[in-house]
């Protein structure tokens, strides 16, 4: 398979629990080698969708194709999954646990042992290989969870809230490992509530609400789509006097101003006016692009939900 190829194809999928429709006619695709962010308020249907991709749950309607075909036992061995609510056997030695999980993913025990030791050493857990899981700190257990997910060198990784409960050091460690995996061509589907992580890491995103798609596309494109006709400037001068500026809004610090532009006026025209004006001194100039957090609140709020 090559980059740009579809790794996951979800077509018109619906899943209901009794009378509650968790996923409603949902379609999207995930491309090889990208970090695909999966967003949505609590109860939006994210986990159900991920479980259907993993063949843990079957859709009531629609179809899902994973890694180029229908789901088989062999497909399972090419996917790594880290659920949101995760745990480990407490009274089992770490290495034994990892070897077991590796063999369930089709690895030979000796390969699993070797790979587990490599990853444990890389995550500074090598000396705990013979320890029981219950003897590890919470942070260490989180790292072990991640090792379980990537142990068998999967082509597709599905991680549900990967950074929840992690301290900043371990968050960075995990983030770096995900970037390394992406560099190696691994496709990552990541569900998270941390919008800045999506802005920083995500290539494309899907936001669902009440089981339906509300936002879908490249992260930058989505943000641009929600951008107002406004610019954010820092500096000195009478901003309201600029041609095409309808109103000026200062932030709480009084150092940054949002200039709302009249219809038909583009940011480029304002920039040219500023360059030509000797009465204005500009330190920074940027498009007023909303954060994903703002977009999330805006979209979820419109649907009557709270993230």
């Amino acid at each position: 398979m090559s980059a740009g190829e579809t790794v996951v194809q979800v077509s018109q999928v619906t899943k209901a629990y009794g009378t509650h429709v968790a996923v409603d006619d949902l379609s999207f695709e995930v491309q090889r080698g990208e970090i695909f962010a999966f967003l949505g308020p609590n109860g939006a249907g994210k986990t159900t969708t991920m479980r259907m991709i993993l063949d843990i749950l079957k859709p009531d309607a629609g179809s899902i194709s994973v890694l180029g075909g229908p789901f088989t036992e062999e497909t399972k061995q090419r996917i790594g999954y880290m659920p949101e609510e995760r745990g480990l056997y407490r009274n089992v030695r770490l290495l034994d646990l990892l070897v077991y999980m590796g063999t369930l993913k089709g690895m030979r025990a000796s390969d699993a042992r070797q790979r587990a030791m490599d990853l444990l050493n890389r995550l500074e857990l090598g000396e705990h290989a013979k320890s029981k899981v219950s003897e590890l700190s919470k942070g260490m257990q989180q790292k072990v969870q991640f090792i379980v997910t990537v142990l068998h060198r999967p082509e597709l990784i599905i991680v549900d809230e990967p950074f929840s409960g992690l301290d900043p050091v371990n968050t960075q460690l995990l983030k770096n490992m995900l970037f390394d995996l992406k560099d190696d061509g691994v496709t990552i589907v990541m569900s998270t509530h941390m919008m800045h992580q999506v802005e920083e890491m995500g290539d494309r995103l899907l936001m669902i609400d009440e089981g339906r798609c509300v936002l879908y596309g490249p992260v930058d494109e989505v943000r641009d789509r929600f951008a107002e006709n406004a610019v954010v400037v820092q500096g000195q001068g009478d901003w309201a006097a600029l041609p095409g500026v309808e109103s000026v809004e200062a932030d709480e610090t009084g150092r940054e101003y949002t200039l709302h532009l009249a219809e038909g006026v583009t940011p480029k025209m304002v920039m040219q006016a500023l360059a030509a004006s000797p009465e204005h001194h500009v330190r920074s100039f940027a498009l007023a692009v909303p954060s994903l957090n703002e977009i999330f609140i805006q979209v979820a709020g419109r649907n009557g939900n709270h993230a």
């Binding site: 056997y89 034994d96 993913k105």
Partner: protein, 417 residues
């Protein structure tokens, strides 16, 4: 299929290394054997350093002479013991108390026994000691041995010993029909029934209990979701059932082997148990009853494990099957008195009570073959049903659910699975 064996191997290693399993399987039998031999050793030490009197001396043709008592005098008013005979080196007969006591005053005797005239009726003997001493007191056994021997005349000492102890009754009961059963004395039977029923019940409940615990643990820790992304529910369940079954089989094999070992030797230590006879037939039949009983309980326990959200609810729900299964145990006396009676027969045919009830019967009697076959067939069908039920409930929806489904939804889940 491959994944089933990975689950099997992992669970086998995980469960067999639990301290509780190792202790119950090997520790308790070892402790029982150590206690048995310890008790025997203490008894032998006591015998070696203690008196030569008592039943030990009377039961064997050993020399009655024991120098540590010194010389004992006796006066016989009953006329039954005119001559010390073989005991002459230690015993001296005097015609009157005065004579004997004078000899004791002179230091010739350590003890004087006076046998009453009506000894045969009352067994009354008076003992005189110069000063109180343990040696003097322990001479009683020696003197008793002399009295018994003389009373028995030239009778074989084994006859004398047998006269002194109760018989070990072996009852032969001819049933209606042609089946012939051998029953032992009630105390011994009670012990056998109690013991083997306990062994079977514990092994079956421990194994299926571990299974339930393992399922609930995976739900509680949420590792089940990671497992389900690698292996389907049915191979996951099957791997667990097989591993716990094997561990349970090993456990009951060790227990039964230890029980047989101990029971074969216990007669030498506790003569009352000397007539104890273990039915070899029972040991053979215990295997299918354990396996099918385990499968039946395992199926129900696994289903409970799949439904119960935490380790607290699991055992509470399991009581609904554990208590009925233990009913034969509450009727032990009826099983001992009439092992082939109506109630024991009904219990041994009804699948839930069959494993315990049948072992309780087999421990002391011969059960007609047709009853065994019918009972096993019914048990096998129920075990299959229980495993089927577990398979229906051991599904993603129940395993990933954070709470117990409502009772009215259960049928729906079973139908829809």
């Amino acid at each position: 299929m491959n994944k089933l064996w990975h689950v099997f191997g992992f669970e086998l290693k995980r469960q067999s290394s639990r301290r509780a399993y190792l202790f119950t399987t090997f520790g308790i039998p070892l402790l029982a054997v150590v206690l048995l031999f310890g008790y025997q050793a203490i008894q032998q030490l006591n015998a070696a350093s203690g008196s030569a009197g008592g039943e030990g001396a009377s039961a064997e043709e050993t020399s009655p002479e024991e120098p540590n008592f010194g010389v004992i005098g006796y006066v016989d008013y009953s006329g039954l013991f005119p001559d010390p005979g073989l005991f002459g080196l230690t015993l001296v007969r005097y015609d009157s108390e005065e004579e004997a006591l004078t000899a004791m005053d002179a230091g010739e005797l350590t003890t004087v026994y006076v046998i009453a005239e009506d000894y045969l009726e009352t067994g009354k003997v008076t003992r005189y000691l110069e000063t109180f001493s343990l040696e003097g007191a322990s001479a009683d056994g020696f003197f008793s041995a002399f009295l018994r021997r003389e009373l028995a005349g030239n009778a074989d000492q084994r006859v004398v010993a047998r006269i002194q102890s109760d018989p070990v009754v072996v009852e032969h009961v001819l049933n209606e029909g042609s089946d012939f059963s051998v029953a032992q004395s009630e105390d011994v039977s009670f012990l056998l029934v109690y013991l083997f029923a306990l062994l079977l019940a514990f092994a079956a409940f421990f194994s299926s209990g571990y299974l339930m615990q393992s399922v609930i643990e995976e739900k509680e820790t949420r590792i089940v979701e990671i497992l389900l992304s690698s292996v389907r529910p049915v191979p996951l369940l099957a791997g667990k059932v097989l591993s716990m079954g094997l561990l349970g089989l090993l456990q009951i094999a060790v227990w039964v082997a230890t029980a047989v070992f101990i029971l074969n030797r216990i007669g030498a230590i506790f003569p009352v148990l000397a007539g104890l006879h273990i039915q070899t037939e029972m040991l053979v039949w215990m295997v299918p009853y354990f396996l099918l009983g385990y499968l039946m309980f395992a199926g129900v326990y696994a289903a409970i494990g799949a439904l119960a959200p935490s380790m607290r609810e699991g055992p509470q729900l399991a009581v609904f099957i554990t208590l009925p299964a233990m009913i034969p145990f509450y009727f032990l006396n009826i099983f001992v008195e009439t092992p082939n009676g109506l109630l024991p027969t009904i219990f041994s045919l009804f699948p839930i009570t069959a494993p315990l009830a049948m072992v309780q019967r087999l421990a002391i009697t011969t059960v007609p073959l047709h009853e065994l076959l019918i009972s096993l067939a019914l048990l096998a069908l129920t075990a299959l049903g229980a495993i089927w039920l577990a398979g229906r409930l051991f599904r993603v929806n129940t395993l990933l659910a954070g709470q117990m489904p409502r009772w009215r939804d259960l049928l729906h889940i079973i139908r829809e699975a």
